[in-house]
């Protein structure tokens, strides 16, 4: 499916119940992508600060959300590297 078509269909408001349920599943999907990307970034050696900058949030916010969710085997620096 072409990108513009997706946007039109997901934003279709003629059937709100289907739309709302789709949005809730989309949110699950987006959150799982975010988790996956944060893990990949930390594995690649990026710092919490760099991850936060890319997501457009504060370092504290991204750390609070993901510190316990990420794979515990990822070696994350305790302190933000300068």
């Amino acid at each position: 499916m072409e990108q513009p078509e997706i946007a039109v269909a997901a934003g279709d408001t003629s059937d709100p119940l289907t739309g709302l349920r789709a949005v809730s599943s989309l949110r699950v999907l987006v959150e799982s992508y975010e988790l996956r990307q944060v893990e990949a970034a930390l594995r690649a050696g990026m710092s919490w600060q760099e991850v936060a900058d890319a997501l457009g949030v504060t370092r504290q916010a991204v750390h609070k959300k993901y510190a316990k969710r990420i794979d515990p085997t990822i070696a994350v620096p305790r302190r933000n590297r300068a």
């Binding site: 997901a10 289907t18 349920r21 789709a22 989309l26 999907l29 959150e31 988790l35 996956r36 515990p72």
Partner: protein, 324 residues
Amino acid sequence: MSRLTDAVVLSQQIVVTATEEAYRAGHAELDLDHLLVALTAVGGPAGEVLRSLGATVDRTRAAVAQVHADRLARAGVPAPAAQPRDLPRGGGGLPWSPRADRVLTAGRWEMPSADDRPILRALVRDPSGFVAEALAVLDLDPDRVVAAADAWAPAPTTPSGELVSPDPRPWRTVTRTGWVPAAPADVWSLVTDPARRTAWDPWYASVEEREDGVLVATLVGEQQGAKPVRAGFERQEVVPVAREEGRLVEWELRRPDRPGGAPVQRLAVALTASGDGTRVDLTVRWLRRGGWRAVVGTLVRPVAGLLWGQMLLAKHAAIARALR
């Protein structure tokens, strides 16, 4: 075990299993879909009800994935291919969604008994419609599920025989019983395969089989990110002492680096077919030693019993995890 302990163990199993489901699916929090799958995977009444209606672990897992995919498809978004995450050793941690928290709390109020049907009822009633959609994929009507839950009556499985091999010595014994969603033959091949020992025995970092059939195990220590192991305790020999093909296996655990001083200790796994899964009885037993150790042993006995029980529950959880 008391009913309260059974109830605590069951709710713990549900939370741990649901968390693992969410982790494996790559989701960022524990939600209703994972709780539904968890109910089918643990040995509680709700699981018996669901499986009797055809909602097995695999089918339920596929159904909840289907609901997400269908919801996205109806809105014109192609569903992405599943990208399961590997579960780290010791499991991963995830927060609960507020509604999963509500459903679990609903179950807990009615729990002094080991009955997870209140959780199932709360799931079926969930206003978001997710669980109802998953049940529809499984060709199940919510009212039928609730009716089956109401009609459920306990039908305990009695063990297939003795839980340990015959030995007249005065053993101290601790047993924990659990249920796993796999056939006895599958559980048997898991627990008797030295190469898969570390998959279900969380004590061991590595296990190798010697030519005489004895397993030489290295305990999980600092290298695996755990607490360091005391000197002389790093290695264990796991010596087979009894084997009834497909039903009972027992090992004696020895510490080759501590000549003479180590107590005699055994671990037994007994299997019984139960519904569409297996009842697993894990028993650890040991011989009392003389001298000052006997006095200390008597004093710490209640605590030791609890700790052994926890150790057996951890092994049971790992067996279930390896077979889900």
